[in-house]
Symmetry: C2
Subunit: 362 residues, 2 copies
């Protein structure tokens, strides 16, 4: 088992990464203030892992309130959030009753937001069961729901007390979701760690083949990088924005196609390619590096061509991004592989050129 | 103008108290990060003060997005919260766009919660226009909405950057709302400051007659006491619970009669009398002090007799309180005038006796 510690003062917490952690109640019990927990999950993950987790806790005398909500990004809504808080109230969950998220990013975002606002905040524990959630959503405290006008528009920064990343759960993940998680893993290399990117180029086939040790190493390094960045900038006023490489484009892709059509990680991969091409067009990244990035995404079985939504629609959707300031779109671009930067000064015609060339790039 | 500073480390903020503050844009401008604000208000307060505030800001080049929501506790709901966030999105309010609450406690709670969750948090400014909001709701960062199963069940701790308590706005307050605010003012004396309670006994007629200077002094001392307590215990794990004197009973009264039937302060006054009688019955408070408290409430034109909801219904409603731990109701009681204490050990038969005797007390 690896442990990565997220250093946030009184809100610091550990991420444990390894095999079989779901059954290791001794990792969870020290973080409970009460012998009662609520577990938020979806039907698919619940069917696979809820019993195992519940049994491990029940054997220690902990009462488990299961809350099963529908699966998928399209359910990250007010309505589902309401379902969760209604159930918490109906089961008389109290301020010291911990809320556990058992599932992927959607479950983590929903349950984390519910934990942030139920009784003005209850203890929160993440058990991410997808690669994406293990390397991204469960680190850093971002929670929230979608709005018809944009993704994650409503939410809170709310840190968990504990994250358990059980790599065994990745064995049941569909190929497409494994690939989507790899998009975020590759992102960490791109923005901050060239050596990690190069390690990924070597290990990508072992990762897509789900080699347990290699996956655990990739999760650990990803969490370390994210934890470092979040510790420097918890509320995203500076360096944390780098984590959004490919995300402003990606959110536009998700919203433009309708949430749930593309997986988040797929949209991030295609969005990162747009950012890479734009970085090249403004003279920062070489064409060779653009191709090298595309190669790694392709080997990870990720899309490298963004859908052609039309320039105007892209710009409109990107303008709804949370990172907009004074109406200007702030973009994360690449200086080189291993070094991202944030800019609000990208010439609009360059952006439009990249967005306008999509049919050719496909 | 008085200024009380709430000391919460990086979340510290000033409360300015005095006459004509609404027009003093120089108090607001230093707290804006952008030349655009959204102002949440209701039709009644908006009619009275929105133009004055907007003009003061517009004269300095600040764009004002007005958001008018229906008046009253019964609108402190998911639906109204949604209306606010929809409007913020429709007007492209950004992470640096400040949200101003212009109104009483309901507006402050709703707008504060919207500020806490819109884009995961935007700057928040309170301009409380009721006595209750000036002395209570605008200090301490509690925000939230009601749920059919209980008051303020969903919310966040979210501190404003600035509170402007313009005492001129109290001139347009209905008598009943002025009295409701005095209930919280009296509460501060009861839990923490006997000298302040005695000052209130002397000044109560000047307060109900709305003497501006006396009101400003009462607001200042109330804010000072609340600020001290909140600074000691921001997230209500200890001493802050004292602020809930009369509130567990009061919430049960409000919920039992239907939110909005009694004003919050009215329910707190009657609830405080229940707490006082219970304190007497367990041998902590003298009968003379119980009568002295009732006298002051009566002179403030507040109810001292709680409605007879029946013991079982009271206990059920009190059991839904956020402060319940391991199913046990924690109550704030009085040691003496000027000294409150928290207990989870009140004998249930004593509680039931006080709740059962309501028809006689009326």
């Amino acid at each position: 088992m690896f442990t990565v510690r997220v250093e946030l003062g009184e809100r610091s917490y550990p991420i444990h990464i390894g095999s079989g952690l779901l059954r290791q109640h001794e990792l969870i019990l020290p973080h409970l203030q009460q012998q009662k927990v609520a577990v938020v999950t979806n039907p698919v993950v619940g069917e696979l892992y809820l019993e195992e987790l519940s049994n491990a806790l029940a054997a220690q005398g902990v009462t488990v309130v299961p809350i099963v909500v529908p699966d998928g990004e399209s359910y990250k809504t007010w309505e589902t959030l309401n379902t969760i808080t209604d159930r918490l109230l109906a089961h008389r969950c109290e301020r010291k009753t911990a809320l556990i998220a058992l599932g992927g990013g959607v479950i983590g975002d929903l349950a984390g937001f519910a934990a942030a606002i139920y009784l003005r905040g209850v203890p929160f524990i993440q058990i991410p069961t997808t690669l994406l959630a293990q390397v991204d959503s469960s680190v850093g405290g971002k929670t929230g729901i979608n709005h018809p006008l944009g993704k994650n528009m409503i939410g809170a920064f709310y840190q968990p007390r504990l994250v358990l990343a059980d790599t065994d759960t990745l064995n049941t993940l569909p190929d497409r979701e494994l690939a989507a998680g790899l998009a975020e893993v590759i992102k960490y290399g791109l923005i901050r760690d060239r050596a990690f990117f190069e390690w990924l180029e070597q290990e990508i086939d072992r990762l897509t083949a789900r080699d347990a040790t290699t996956l655990a190493q990739a999760v650990r390094r990803s969490c370390e990088i994210k934890a470092e960045i979040v510790a420097e900038d918890e509320r995203e006023s500076g360096v944390r924005a780098l984590l959004n490489l490919g995300h402003t484009f990606g959110h536009a892709i998700e919203a433009g196609l309708g949430f749930g059509t593309w997986l988040h990680g797929e949209a991030v991969a295609a969005g990162t390619m747009l950012a890479a091409r734009l970085s090249r067009d403004i003279g920062r990244l070489s064409q060779a590096d653009v191709e090298r990035i595309a190669d790694l995404f392709r080997r990870a079985k990720l899309p490298v061509a963004a859908p052609d939504l039309g320039v105007a629609r892209y710009v409109e959707l990107m303008g709804l991004d949370k990172k907009v300031e004074q109406g200007r779109i702030r973009l994360v671009l690449l200086e080189s592989i291993g070094r991202g930067f944030v800019t609000a000064d990208c010439p609009p015609q360059r952006l439009e050129h990249v967005l306008g060339g999509l049919s050719q790039h496909a």
